[in-house]
């Protein structure tokens, strides 16, 4: 008998809780850092972006209205699933980023820990950022943070899993929903993450993950009328001004991000959470 032929996997997009092929039928080859062919990934199109945005919009009502406690539980459940797939992620991060197994292990562990960290924020962020406003008058006035809406995320190009988790988890923790374009050349951990999300309790459409080129898809996200915020981390620095101009058409919130990819292993803070939150101030008269 010859050696066993492995079962090759066909990689697809993750939209609305389902795994469709790209509407365009396009695929592109994914290789490891040494150029060895790993798989063909779906190359998302403009139509796929639109479908993903509409799925994210549809999911927004339910996800944003879920109790913070519930959202925290759901996100923690994702971390459990990540842990379960740890070995697969290590292999994919190692192949994608060309790092040794030990380094890949520590990156995966950091990714899981980061997800847990953000999961724990869901039911605390309102306490930290909200306020009872001491207004000068007979009124009760309070301010609560609320999710911004649908967020378009161009995931980091270098850090295939830890970077991705660091930009996606804060969006979900606020109660916003996401359309993510994965790292173009290192999409495998993103595809596996979408399988994790699909088998966790995260409602379909809350996170949508497209494989493809930020340079092509970023513009559709930036100009889309139903996207409320844009994280341009994965865009070429030279392309960011154009993205920001397109985003201005609908007064999108555009994150300010550094030109070079930050060190994702550094501790996270709440700045990303803050950027996906609106402050709602409610007033009511006091009296008898």
């Amino acid at each position: 008998m010859s050696d066993r032929i492995s079962v090759a996997k066909t990689y697809k997009l993750y939209i609305g809780g389902k795994f469709p092929r790209s509407e365009s039928g396009r695929v592109y080859p994914v290789t490891d850092t040494k150029g060895k062919f790993l798989a063909n990934a779906s190359h998302a199109s403009r139509k796929d972006v639109r479908d993903a945005v509409s799925a994210a919009r549809k999911a927004f009502g339910g996800w944003s209205a879920a109790t913070a406690y519930n959202r925290g539980q759901v996100l923690y459940r994702v971390a459990e699933m990540l842990e379960g797939r740890r070995e697969q992620f290590v292999a994919e991060v190692s192949a994608s980023e060309g790092v040794a197994a030990k380094k890949a292990q520590s990156l995966v562990d950091a990714s899981i820990d980061r997800w847990v960290w953000y999961a724990g924020w869901t039911d605390k962020i309102a306490t930290v950022l909200g306020a009872a406003n001491p207004v000068a008058g007979p009124y009760f006035s309070f301010t609560v943070p609320e999710p911004t809406g649908v967020v378009g995320v161009l995931a980091p190009q270098e850090s295939s899993l830890l970077g991705l988790v660091s930009v996606l988890a804060p969006v979900l923790a606020t109660g916003s929903t996401a359309v993510v374009v994965s790292s173009a050349d290192r999409p495998l951990p993103a595809i596996t993450l979408s399988e994790v999300l699909a088998t966790s309790d995260l409602p379909g459409g809350v996170a949508n993950i497209l494989t493809g080129r930020a340079s092509e898809l970023g513009s559709w996200l930036a100009s889309h009328g139903d996207v409320n915020a844009l994280d341009p981390t994965g865009a070429e620095p030279s392309a960011r001004a154009d993205l920001a101009r397109e985003a201005a058409g609908t007064v999108k919130r555009v994150l300010t991000v550094p030109d070079t990819e930050p060190d994702w292993t550094a501790d996270a803070d709440i700045s990303r959470l803050r950027r996906y939150l609106e402050a709602k101030t409610v007033w009511h008269p006091l009296g008898v």
Partner: protein
Amino acid sequence: MGIFEYAPAPESRDLANLKSHYRPFVNGEFVDGSGEPLKTINPATEEVLAEVGTASVSDVDTAVKAARKAYNGVWSKMPGSERAKYLFRVARLIQERSRELAVLESLDNGKPIKESRDSDVPTAAAHFFYHAGWADKLGYAGYGPNPKPLGVAGQVIPWNFPLLMLAWKIAPALATGNTVVLKPAETTPLTALVFAEICQQAELPPGVVNILPGAGDIGAALVGHGDVNKVAFTGSTEVGKAIQRQIAGTAKKLTLELGGKAANVVFDDAPLDQAVEGIVNGIFFNQGHVCCAGSRLLVQESIAEELLEKLRYRVSTLRLGDPLDKNTDIGAINSAEQLAKIKGLVESGDAEGAQRWTSPCPVPERGFFFAPTVFSDVQQSMRIAREEIFGPVLSVLTFRTPDEAVTKANNTPYGLSAGIWTEKGSRILWMANQLRAGVVWANTFNRFDPAAPFGGYQESGFGREGGRTGLEAYLDV
């Protein structure tokens, strides 16, 4: 009518200390701007009030340089406790000169003296008091132990609340250690230039505050200046988008307070008389020149007729006329241009089939006035239900269920404010949750306080002014 007859009760125009000529304020001094001087008029009489020197693009550069020098040399280095004392001084001086400021504001803007006197000027002082206290407590604001200022702030403000918007912009900027170059609106530069005098009286270091009167091109030059680190704009959504586009790709931090088309939702169990007062306050305050005005009234169908009847009666008692009369409720529209815009939108309401009712109040022959107007039978697709009118024009729509009210209220690209009128507490909180708006007033409307964050969702802009949240706009966090 005829129940209330009022004798004229005019406030003295002399209190304004009106001068024939005003000049830009740069580096602690009033200077001759190299732009074309403009004449600012009294919109209630169309008389020229004063000539105002304006800035040119080169003056923008001079002002930014002055602000940078003050930032590097003095203001960012000064302990917060010292900055605080300057801001407290400014607040006190605004209070002490409040009569002068109120009269001047009413002359230049056209708003009733009772509003400039009781609302604009005291609230402007309150913003300086509030932020003064933050200057030495920024480590407690929730942005880390020692948050840093951004640098030079370029600020562009509108004509509807000239002094108050200045306070909203300058007070937090200075408290957090930034220096500012501010461009007041072309039609309402006067109180900003008296504020500049106040900065001198407070002995604020030169360059910390610079005021450049001018038109949109000066605003664009200021916003686009390479040495400006922070841009803050309040005004129309259209201009806000242009600014966002203009500075795209730069490191400038931006906050925008833009337009609105607020829904004021009245349920069948609302206390009707209070609701009527709230509706009137929501749309006719400041002639409806309010970005968060309750311009779309959503009434539960079962009470629509009764409410409309009460509303029309109440609106017909509003007194329109001389802004300096202490009994005037509705003053002048700020400019001929704005009056034309209001008229155009009202005509579209007629053309699209809404039912127009206009208050029978007498309208002065001179000046820019527009009688309070209420449109009923308004459909969501009509321009008067979708576009910001920015005038004393109310559009009334109806709904049957709370869900329908939410859907209609949220059916707009704007998201600045909303109102809810009902006696049912659980419904208020449910509605407040559902409405996609930055400020929700329940059983009240148009309340402002420096301690309460204000700002919009979606195309009403981003960032907040006021409260702890508002400090973020001026900090490097």
